[in-house]
């Protein structure tokens, strides 16, 4: 399994590198899968399974506490634009976000969550810090 990249603001690491099988909530109950890669999205981490399914971290079952989520201001323009280009490319290729546990759905979900946080935050920004 390729673990998620290290981020200085996230500690300790979860899952451990030995953990390769996860159980997660899926339609109609729970399911399991072998993790191929863990990577950060625009807000939370996604677990990419060997069979190509993409499982957002908050759907994973088990006794764990996941790392903090990313803040909109942590996302660089370069990363955001690369994400946007990828989404448009997948949409143009005819991928459908209604397909469960697929990459396009996972990436679009994160992009919409990030966009909401980014612009709602900008419109309601109080004087005191809200992200710690």
């Amino acid at each position: 399994m390729r673990p998620t990249e290290n981020r200085p603001d996230v500690h300790p690491k979860w899952p451990s590198e030995e953990a390769q099988i996860i159980t997660f909530t899926s339609r109609g109950g729970s399911a399991t899968g072998v993790v191929k890669e863990v990577r950060w999205g625009l807000v939370w981490r996604d677990f990419i399974l060997e069979d190509g399914r993409v499982i957002p971290e908050h759907k994973i079952l088990g006794e764990h506490e996941s790392p903090v989520w990313r803040k909109p201001q942590d996302i660089s323009q370069q990363e955001r634009e690369a994400w946007e280009r990828r989404l448009v490319s997948m949409a143009d290729a005819g991928l459908d976000p209604r397909d469960e546990e697929q990459l396009f759905r996972a990436e679009l979900n994160q992009y919409l969550a990030y966009t909401y946080l980014r612009f709602k935050e900008a419109r309601h920004k109080p004087s005191d810090p809200k992200w710690t």
């Binding site: 300790p12 979860w14 899952p15 451990s16 030995e18 953990a19 390769q20 099988i21 996860i22 159980t23 339609r27 807000v43 957002p56 908050h58 759907k59 088990g62 006794e63 764990h64 506490e65 996941s66 790392p67 903090v68 989520w69 323009q77 955001r80 634009e81 946007e84 989404l87 448009v88 949409a91 143009d92 005819g94 459908d96 976000p97 209604r98 469960e100 759905r105 679009l108 979900n109 919409l112 969550a113 966009t115 909401y116 946080l117 612009f119 709602k120 935050e121 900008a122 419109r123 309601h124 109080p126 005191d128 809200k130 992200w131 710690t132």
Partner: protein, 105 residues
């Protein structure tokens, strides 16, 4: 499978104000954001609501863009918002091309 228990992140703070909402003491930053996104239906978007969520995101960007257009500063943010708006428009069109909503299986 080995899963390590990770201590709750540092975040046991007093009441905090996040995007127009006040959250109770004890809610970590992540919990606050998760609550916000859950209320907006954006943590796990239901199968047939992506088009609607894209429209809502477009509105949020447009509202912000309207504010930015009134300002002579924040040109970089304005350009960035315009770029995101264009992305959302492309996504909206692509999703519309997918045709009629598919019912959840």
């Amino acid at each position: 499978m080995k899963i390590r228990v990770i201590p709750t992140e540092v975040g046991e703070e007093a009441e905090r104000y996040v995007m127009g909402k006040t959250y109770q003491s004890g809610q970590s930053g992540k919990q606050q954001v998760r609550s916000l996104l859950s209320e907006a239906g954006l943590v796990d978007i239901p199968t047939d609501e992506f088009s609607e969520r894209v429209k809502e995101a477009k509105k949020a960007v447009l509202d912000r863009l309207g504010e930015l257009l009134e300002s002579t500063t924040d040109i970089e943010e304005r350009d960035s918002a315009a770029y995101s708006l264009a992305t959302l428009k492309k996504l909206e069109i692509a999703l519309q091309r997918k045709g009629t909503p598919r019912t959840a299986d």
